[in-house]
Subunit: 380 residues, 2 copies
């Protein structure tokens, strides 16, 4: 391990400073502290306990290290992951890319990790959660649109007739999305989503949708960030639908959320600038659109990516297609009891071709039932 | 000032820890350290000097603070700015938004600053530097296109006949851009730009283009980052044209570079994934396109923005249109001797309507000749 700094102090004492890990650049609201400080090969938190010095100095050091020491004391960064092939692969990758002097060492600014959202960070059954949002909004907006009672696809959306709705096809779905996702300013849409996320509940679990995130994946995001990674969402879902809550729920700030989105129009309304959401698609961030979104928004290739379906196949190919150490992971939904079990034949989150490629190329496939101790975070 | 942490150590000594500023989240390759550490209202670097403790402890603290103390010791964060209205406005704004407990305090994760590039961070005369890149590329590619010798707009681009080229208008320019910016992979284009930036020189100054960046603006970028800001480029220029060199030159990583850009296509070539640059515009990040680019890429409104021309007017409106403290700045090119002098009637970097709005709204307008001690960084 190379010292981060070395030299001689004013009174002739040589020192070497080692910092073995980066900070968490996402917790930007908390001043950043190095997570593990080593001086002359020894851990500082441990040294404090052993020092025979006056109380003031000990307090100084304790104060300095009060936050630094927490991650060091947490022995297992992935407590909700059972010891199995996936956890081992993740930890081995992390050790490899963060060990200074290792041939696989990756500079901190190149530590980019991208995550799909639906089915990877939160659940997606029996319908993408943004679909529930669409239906909820149609019901809220219906009184202003009496014609919806008799016009498809609104009529079926209001009665919940999934069969007629399916018959409306992609065109019908696009119409519902346009009716609920455009025609307002970005600030207005942000408020609508924020309120929905704080109140709407899943029909089966009765949890808030934002409570149906995967605890093991929250730990993985934190583990990556504690090791200097920038964590991104790269989702087929709506960018503006995710941004209002991803920082609070995942620790991922809006500027690291990439998703599908529509065109925007800048306007001055009585001198006040607004951005109006237009019913025209600007980026479909799914499948072949994921590497495109990654290049456009990040401009560097991730070295770590996680998905769960065929829509993530190209993101994983793009990630593993670069030089040096690469990690590609897929969440396999095998837990019909605690969550849902589905793969090759699922209408939502189909995992078929990407699974074959994972098998062929040795990507990590997480068996949710066998490898995750818990699914959702404990209720607050 | 609120303590960041307080408590009682194991042996009963009460402590309070103050951290008065954030870290520099852009220098991600260097492990992040808080820039100013205060304990019980006193600066730690100063305390070390005053402490009567054994050498080992002093070395420990010196090692810990070897980097933290540097920014504290640098008395003037903007040494190339003369003491004048612009410098005063910048420093006053910074003090306001970073003082804990102040009504104008802004949380670190909301500290977003956006900068135009051409004419704001580097020079833009007598032609946008990307224009020189286009002509240089046309010359390099000409042997593969013998038909260009007799076809407009290539013929004029090759002979340097600006009059005939101007006659080709926007359509001609778009054709030249398409011929030099598409039809290759993103990796190939990155290599081309990297090599050009390392070798091509400005016809008048004979400097590398990347040496024609403004020293006072480099200091401003560093000053913002030292105070917890994320610094972004929001330019009408090409996103992929800037990314290969902005991290090295400005300390701005690719993921914080927003610019105009074309559509991309994902392909597997012999099993190797590539992104091909298509001759179709995806975003014109200028004028009304700047707030759109900001929303799409960042998803939060900047609190600080700097431009130099009418193309930046909407970015400054959008920035200042939010609640709380806001800063809008314009570089006014008044220095015909050391740089160029131009404003209302310039073909490149026209400053007219934005100047009027700045006067009316009290935005900061930097008089380059009067307020900047130096223009370019010292030659290396």
């Amino acid at each position: 391990m190379q010292p981060f700094a070395s030299g001689t102090s004013d009174d002739g004492c040589a020192f070497r400073l080692y910092i073995s890990s980066g900070c968490n650049p996402c917790m930007r609201s908390i001043p950043l502290l190095p997570q593990r400080l080593m001086v002359a090969g020894r851990s500082l938190p441990r040294m404090i306990k052993e020092l025979h010095v006056n109380r003031m100095i000990r307090c100084l050091l304790a104060a300095l290290l009060v936050f630094c020491s927490l991650p060091v004391l947490a022995a297992d960064p992935l407590p909700s992951w059972k010891s199995g092939p996936s956890k081992k692969a993740i930890v081995a990758f992390m050790d490899k890319v963060t060990t200074t002097g290792s041939p696989d060492f990756v500079a901190v600014n190149e530590r980019i990790a991208t995550f799909d959202n639906d089915g990877t960070l939160w659940a997606e059954q029996p319908l993408y959660f943004q679909g529930f949002f669409v239906f909820d909004r149609i019901r809220v907006l219906a009184p202003q649109h009496p014609e919806w009672q008799t016009t498809e696809p609104y009529k079926s959306a209001l009665t919940g007739d999934m069969k007629d709705l399916a018959a409306a096809g992609e065109k019908g779905l696009a119409e519902l999305i346009a009716a609920t996702h455009s025609g307002m300013t970005t600030d207005e849409f942000n408020s609508v989503v924020t309120q929905w996320a704080a109140t709407a509940r899943h029909p089966k679990t009765k949890k808030l949708y934002t409570e149906m995130v995967y605890q093991p994946m929250l730990e993985l995001l934190a583990y990556l960030r504690a090791n200097g990674f920038k964590t991104y969402i790269v989702s087929g879902g709506g960018q503006e639908f995710m941004r209002p809550w991803t920082e609070r729920v995942y620790g991922i700030p809006p500027e690291q959320v990439i998703g599908s989105g529509g065109e925007l129009k800048y306007e001055l309304r009585d001198g006040v600038p607004v951005l109006v959401k237009l019913p025209k698609v600007a980026l479909v961030d799914d499948s072949v659109g994921k590497p495109v979104g990654i290049q456009r928004f990040i401009g560097r290739r991730p070295i770590f990516a996680f998905g769960n379906s065929d829509g993530d196949q190209q993101m994983l190919e793009w990630t593993t297609g670069g030089d040096g150490p690469r990690f590609a992971g897929l969440v396999h939904h095998t837990d019909g009891k605690r969550e849902w079990a589905y793969d090759r034949k699922s209408r939502i989150g189909k995992l078929d071709k990407a699974w074959d490629e994972a098998t062929q190329k040795g990507w990590t496939v997480v068996d949710m039932r066998k490898e995750w101790k818990t699914i959702y975070p404990p209720a607050r």
